[in-house]
């Protein structure tokens, strides 16, 4: 850190571009071994990539979409992509292996969403309700751990309208009941085959574009 650094470059992707109302989208993706079944992980990669590319192309979504990707699998939950404006997101295909660390992933996701929310609130940038998209087969190897606390936290977020959640169950034998605990009370878990994932993301980029053209009040 010496000499003059361009501050605008330094914060690129981390401050709101223009005045667009920010739409935080956090993808919480299952990258455990089970995703290898039926080529699930490939569809997921294709889907997420399309989602990112389509959103980048849309002038409207490009300024507003703030994306974070968290994966759980590969022996740990990790932040694949910190919250960044979509234009600064570079996606490399995910690899699937290992166990499912869903709860850890969820904790990370909430942490990142809270951090970003604080940032926007403090700088006076308006933002839509953050959207958390969970994609998992719902088979949790650590499900019995301290999940009560995290469920309580999630539900309180939903109640205060601090978060919207979409949950997608992948595969034929999804543990719907387990996943339901993490969802908004009225939200139905979408069940899809791995082949549908691609379409889901293609649709998502459309609805994200539409949403970013709205004002915050429209969502009430």
């Amino acid at each position: 850190m010496s000499g003059n650094i361009n501050l605008q470059d330094l914060t690129a992707g981390d401050i709101a571009k223009g005045n667009a109302t920010q739409l935080m989208v956090c993808l919480l993706l299952d990258t455990s071994y089970s995703m290898l079944v039926n080529g699930g992980i490939d569809e997921l990669n294709k889907g997420v990539e399309t989602f990112i590319n389509q959103s980048k192309e849309s002038f409207i979504a490009r300024d507003a979409l703030d994306l974070c990707i968290i994966t759980f699998g590969n022996e740990k939950a990790q932040v694949f992509q910190e919250f960044k404006n979509i234009e600064y997101v570079n996606f490399t295909p995910l690899k699937a292996s290992g166990q499912t660390y869903f709860i850890d992933g969820l904790k990370l996701a909430l942490d990142r969403i809270d951090g970003r929310r604080r940032q926007w609130t403090n700088t006076g940038i308006s933002f839509f309700h953050p959207l958390l998209i969970i994609m998992s087969d719902g088979k949790e190897n650590e499900i019995s751990r301290d999940n009560d606390a995290i469920i309580e936290k999630l539900q309180s977020y939903y109640k205060k309208h601090l978060l919207n959640c979409k949950c997608i169950g992948i595969g034929n034998d999804v543990a719907i009941n387990e996943l339901q605990k993490f969802c908004q009370p009225n939200e139905k878990i979408e069940k899809m085959n791995s082949i549908d994932i691609y379409n889901y993301f293609a649709d998502l980029s459309k609805s994200v574009t539409e949403k970013s053209a709205q004002s915050i009040y429209d969502e009430q």
């Binding site: 501050l7 571009k17 667009a20 490009r62 300024d63 609130t121 006076g124 004002s215």
Partner: protein, 1089 residues
Amino acid sequence: MGKERQLVEIENKYLKNKLRNILNNNVKKFIVDVLKEIIKNDQQLAIQYVSMLLNSVGAPYPSIWLIALVKDAPEKYLDYIFKVLKADIAEHGNKVKRTSSKNVIYKYFEGTNLNLKQDVLTNLLVQRLSYEQDKQAFLISRFNYLDFEGALKTMKNIAYNEKNETIKQCHDIALLKELFEEKNAKSIGYETGELIQKRNNYVGHDNDARFLDKTKIIDIKDSTICFIEYFNTSKFINLKNEKDEIIKLLNEWEEQYNNLPVAFNSIRKDIPNFVCEDLNESRYEELTDKAKEIIYLTKKNTIVSYLKRLAIIQDVNTRLLSNENIIEKQLVSNNNNLYHLKQLEKLSKLSIFEKEKSYLNNEQLKELLQNTIVFVSGNVLMDNSKGQDRLKNFLRFNDQFLIKENLSMYVSTQTRLEIFQTELNDKLPQEQRQNAKHLRNILRSLQEHESIKFLKSSKNSVDIYNDIIYHFAKTFPDQRFGLVQLFSDKENIDNFSNMIVESNTKNVLPITYGLKREEGKFVYAFRVQENCEPFFNDFCNGELEKENTLKETKTSDCEHTSVAEQSPIKQTESVDILSTNEKKSKEHEANSHSHIEKAITPVIESHEYIKIDKIPSIKDLVYLSDGTSAELKEKIGEGGEGIIYSTNKENTAIKIYNDSSRTKFKEDKLRKMLQLTNTKNFCWINSLVFNDQDNKEFVGYAMRLIDSTKYKPLSQSVLRLSSESLYKNVYLDWTRESLVRVCVKICQSVAFAHENNIIIGDLNKNNIMVNIERFKDPVLYFVDCDSLQYEGYPCTVYNRLFVDPKIYEEQCTDDPDFSKFLRTEENDLYALAVMLFNILMLDTPPYGGAGVSDANLLEAIKNHNFQFRNSVNNSSGKDAPDGPGRMIWNNMDSKVKSLFIRVFAQGEYVYPKEWIRVLNGYITQLKKGKLSNDIYPNKYLDLNPDSGNYKYFKCESCGCDTNLYKDEYERTIKYKGQLLCPKCKSSLLSLRYLPVTPENDKKIPRSYTCAYCGKTEYYANYYDAYMNSRKTGIKYCNEHNKLIKFKCYNCGKEEEMKAGKYLKYSPKARQQLLCNECLTNKLNGDKES
């Protein structure tokens, strides 16, 4: 809960709690609260209690506070408040003289319920008037808004009061004059006459001659005004002996005939074969004594011209046949299309349009004056800058020419009033006053020849353009107007022409009056400006063609008869254009009034759904209410209510409702809306759409199709300009001026809507489509017109950001049901202000800065916590949101800002007319380059670059050119900070809130090593990390960064040192440490030696 108990609770709540403070700080809210609490139960008690309350806390002027309440309190409490107010006036009337109280009354009485307050206000004013110096000015200017009859009554009271001294002041009379010019109702004629009579008894000087200028009265057909005219023209002050006689005479007439035209008729009966034109010296002898008296007492010219008018009324049939000119004159105000087309054809053939930019010669001017109504702006007459020459030139030229050719021009009464005021103003130089007097005399003489006519202009208008454009040109779209303006420089001419073009008044032709060179000499002449094409273009292209085809089908005989048929109807209605104008505007007022009274309660939305067999979709045939059919082609839009299709019909789109929206209510509403035809840039309902040919199964409506490749909703176009990517790719040509022009367009549309009883209601950024290619002259359309509030049909949708906070207050809920009440124009005005703010500030909402979340945003709106820097509630600019908004606000025109502050910080309403005026000023400033034309300015506004108040430099981070206020600049230099542009500065500050993540740590290392212990420490945020990384010097961990005290070995003074540094010394060395002063001395000593 019992009443007593309730009262006790309120008492505990408010009174014991430093009530005086509450009162001073928040008196309105407080009293409203109290009223709300107690009025629920008992009115009597409420009144008593409020009085008691106010007295007990020693509210200095209870009635004033209560007046302040009138505006804020819900309607139903007004009754009680007025009762209290009345009682208070009776008791404390003499307290009500404080100057500030006047302002309170000014502010709060405007716009509240008239009927209720009239009584109280009159009382209050009479009380106040006996103390106030400026009573007339106050009274007139205020009452004029409220209630003219009341004003007159009070005026009379004052006039009768002989002790009153101030009534003698000249300016009062000027004001009175203005007042009476405003309203020329029949009854006022009598009242005024009486007033003059009374005044004359004791004032006894000739102000009264000026008081009511005869010239004015000629314009007014209302016969009773003649009553006053006679007082005036007789110069009865000079002929005091005759005065009583005249009054007697007039009273007789009044009793006998009720009004004066009838009296004139009686003269005609007395004189067989009387022809008005023949009323000259030779016929004088034939007149009866009564008529002689009139002629003796009045000027001949006046009575001749007046009788002329009467004759036109009486003998119109014969005259129509004999005099073609008069027929035409009659028909100028006629809406007869054929006549108009004839006139337009004639107009377009005028020689003035042949050569552009040419000065008019006398012949051309004559043509112009014969074919249009030419207004002469005040500055042509009143310009004092270049002395008398120009003035004389204008009048000399026109004097002879106009009279000779029997032509006329129009001048605003406002101009005449100004001339009059100049004449009376003691403070002005004698010469100027003389000129004004001279000018007035010339105008008078011209007026006697009917070469100058006066047009009433509204009192508050800023200049004549606004008047003409908004008052006349818009009210009479079928009439052609010329507007003469004296030009001083090129820029003004452009502004003048642009303004006319922008105002969308295609019937106004800009004409300037100025110097031209002729045979080596400069002479003054008229010139038709550019932009005159719209003057007849739209007619020639559109209606003319249409009408021509119609004409072809008719025989020429038909055309002839149609004129003949029309004329007798007209004869009784109008003599000249002006009287028609008056009538029309009166009718208009009457209509709008009756409308307001009618539509207090909304039509209740019924849920009576219309059942149909099949919802039409692509390729289906639907039937329109105008008898045609259309095939649905492509789906072009989809909303909550239905689907919009393009059709095989040209320029037509059709909205098909879905089952839940297809109600009887909707059908009725649309049917009602169908009645309005001229709807400008609203995609209005063209016709209803049915499933069947018999028009039974209502399915939707047809509207204008707009090209979706060119037109985008504001939310996806203009409002997104803050986004660099969008700006650079699509909107590169857009400038701030384009944005302001969009705003002007929206204001015009809202004004238009309100004129036509349309309340937009759901004014929001998705409902306005703007042509993204037209950045110089924006074009926009309002869509979703079926949701507008029209007549009694409410607009049931809303967007919270655009909802007037008064609605929450009035409906007493945060979640009002918009189908249960009708919105007002004011509600629209709030939405309009939000809209304009959003556009100019690039989608930044007016409320909700740093620290405002979704949860308390509504509260912020209700409390008018306007977030940007303003003098009312955020003078430091603290908490204004980051982003471009801050810089845009800094660079905005101050007048525009003050309007926003009025709306968002003070809760006032600003009308479109005012917005347009101010925004046009902004455009001028932008054109001159005084304000930044950047969409996203990155410099502070420097109005006076020569003053050196701002230092200019290159940003140390991004290298752009920018500036900073000199104090701040010097401070930055002093503390060795970075000189940054606002964008980089904003980036820097945002580092403070950047979440701590491993990735960010890589970019900006937060870690550092303690110079003493080698421990790795972390800065709390990236801002600190960044700032510290720029500092050189030794860093210590938290523990070793603490200060340790030591005593100077040399002088014994106690000083502090960082622990890390201190501990580095050996214990022995620590005892020999020197303080800074001693150390410097020692070092200097060493150097010297």
